[in-house]
Symmetry: C2
Subunit: 343 residues, 2 copies
């Protein structure tokens, strides 16, 4: 069913008002506050239609209207339009990133902090990592006794380190030789190609190679590295999380890696870099997210390295501002990935 212009206007106003005040919106308030040139009775009539198509509902018979999840979805898709961050805000954010220097860790933390602050929600950032890891460089470093530190650099600039315990002590020279052999043979190969190499290597090199393959396989998961979070307490400030159970369920989402992994696997992988996905009320799929919305974005360079940024908040979320912030921060992080690899 197609909505009339007046219905769209009323729906949009109800949603904006509700997002701001967290209270059911009545016909009288709407006309008064937004100086509409038709009467509360007319608004009521339109509200009846909007309620019938499922975009609005009444908490109880003598209350105003509240948007349904479907209402929010329609709003985000059709009514909201593209909003953009104020130039001044953009400039401030860019400046902060500029000051963070070249440290990926710093960038991630900063991104999480900015997202949380701007959206007044809880934020989530994963470090960039390649969709398919390719070998770039290897170092083997003797630490003490039979403990050896392996540092593996993958295309995209991702660095992984892993301790390995050898059967017997090996000198740094032997390790360096092994590393340089492997560096020669493995350049640019992906994990399956590496696995095929095994035959032509000696025992030590085979051991190391096995570990490399393992690491690279592991790094294919969406959630291989650290997950940066911030603003968890922001969501607790929202009235919809006043009830203990609701707050717990929402925070659990952020705590459990397994859940996040599932979530990201099933949503963000289908999103293009630069694109933003909005999950409203768990989308009938994630029970734990029933009372929340998430805005997820993907950044990076496809084929090289990508990562995820996201915000969790109540369904009554300022979608416009949040989406544009997520998009903007994703853009900056994409620049970082480019810079890291090209400069």
């Amino acid at each position: 069913m197609q909505l009339g212009d007046r219905q769209k206007l009323i729906l949009a106003l109800v949603i904006r008002d509700y997002i701001e005040n967290a209270q059911p919106v009545g016909s009288h308030h709407l006309v008064e506050y937004y100086s509409l040139d038709f009467s509360p009775a007319t608004v009521r009539n339109e509200m009846v239609s909007l309620t019938e198509v499922g975009y609005l509902r009444q908490p109880h018979i003598s209350a105003g209207r509240v948007p349904t999840e479907e209402g929010y979805r329609y709003f985000v898709r059709q009514l909201m339009g593209q909003t953009d961050l104020p130039v001044q805000t953009k400039r401030t954010i860019t400046h902060q990133f500029y000051q963070a220097g070249h440290d990926v860790d710093q960038w991630m933390r900063l991104a999480a902090s900015i997202l949380a602050h701007q959206s007044q929600g809880a934020s989530l950032v994963t470090a960039p990592h390649p969709e398919e890891a390719r070998f770039k460089h290897l170092e083997l470093i003797a630490t003490l006794g039979r403990q050896v530190l392996m540092v593996l650099v993958l295309t995209g600039g991702e660095v992984r380190q892993q301790m390995l315990a050898l059967a017997e002590p090996v000198s740094q020279e032997q390790l360096s030789t092994a590393a340089s052999t492997l560096n020669q043979h493995c350049q640019g190969l992906n994990s399956s190609a590496l696995a095929a190499l095994s035959a032509q290597l000696d025992a030590l090199e085979q051991d190391v190679l096995k570990l490399i393959v393992e690491e690279m396989e592991h790094s294919r998961a969406v959630l291989s590295g650290e997950v940066y979070r911030d603003g968890l307490t922001n969501v607790l400030a929202e009235p919809e999380f006043a009830e203990l159970g609701v707050a717990r369920r929402a925070l659990r989402v952020f705590e459990e890696r397994a859940f996040l992994e599932d979530l990201l696997n099933r949503t963000i992988l289908t999103t293009n870099v630069g694109g933003v996905q909005v999950l409203i009320g768990g989308e009938d799929t994630w029970e734990e997210l029933r009372e929340c919305s998430m805005v997820l974005g993907r950044y990076g360079v496809p084929g090289l390295a990508t990562g995820t940024v996201g915000v969790l908040g109540p369904i009554r979320m300022a979608y416009g501002r949040t989406i544009s912030t997520v998009r903007f921060v994703a853009g900056l992080l994409s620049d970082m990935v480019v810079e890291m690899n090209l400069e």
Copy 2:
């Protein structure tokens, strides 16, 4: 003032009962439930004394008694005694660590998870790092263009990595030469000794050395690496965090690095390895912790590398179980540090 034996018994029972049920404890209930061989009236008389010395209080005149913070402190110091984890529990935990292999990251995550689960609180673990970092080994790895990855191994097995952008491109050979020069000169030196070396080195080496010193200085902070957390939602389940504001304040503690840093600096540094410190109700020092208690432990090998484990919960916390869990996990992590360095 010295408490009589019966007063000690009653205080201990009130605290244990309150910890379990979160409800004011009345004289009648106490006698009934614990089959005491004196009457409720006697208990009431003793309770009056305990209230006068400040170990108990009444929420209101017709309610039972509740421990005060002083009461908890007395309990933890004098009444509780050394409890120990059940052998079976210890075995299970040890087994889990055994299965985690040699990955420090895995160990930290596991430690946080076990602490959270056993204590039903929120847990906190910092990676082991040296009190005074000494140089052990350096690698320089060309990634792309002028971007160079520096991998720095410190005594104690701590590994730090940092990107540096050089003024102009440098080949891997040049980097390797520089690294091996530095490895020869810097072996076992601390940051101030390193800073003094500068004169005898060429431009590239000086650049790198500056960065090394910076990293090592930075790594002296208590909170240099990642902070592992778990069980945040556990604390939300406790009735004392039902109020929004209380829950926010408690979680903020865990979110803000600055706060944690201050906290650890001022408490844990005065604790010996293997020792456990109990903060009850913020100890009049930390406003944010007023409604919480923390149990903090230190692990590692003094002079080599140490780290912190801790649990946050309501003041009404099962101190016995929590303290023994913290102590046990700290012990396991200390073993890990030893093993990493000696094997």
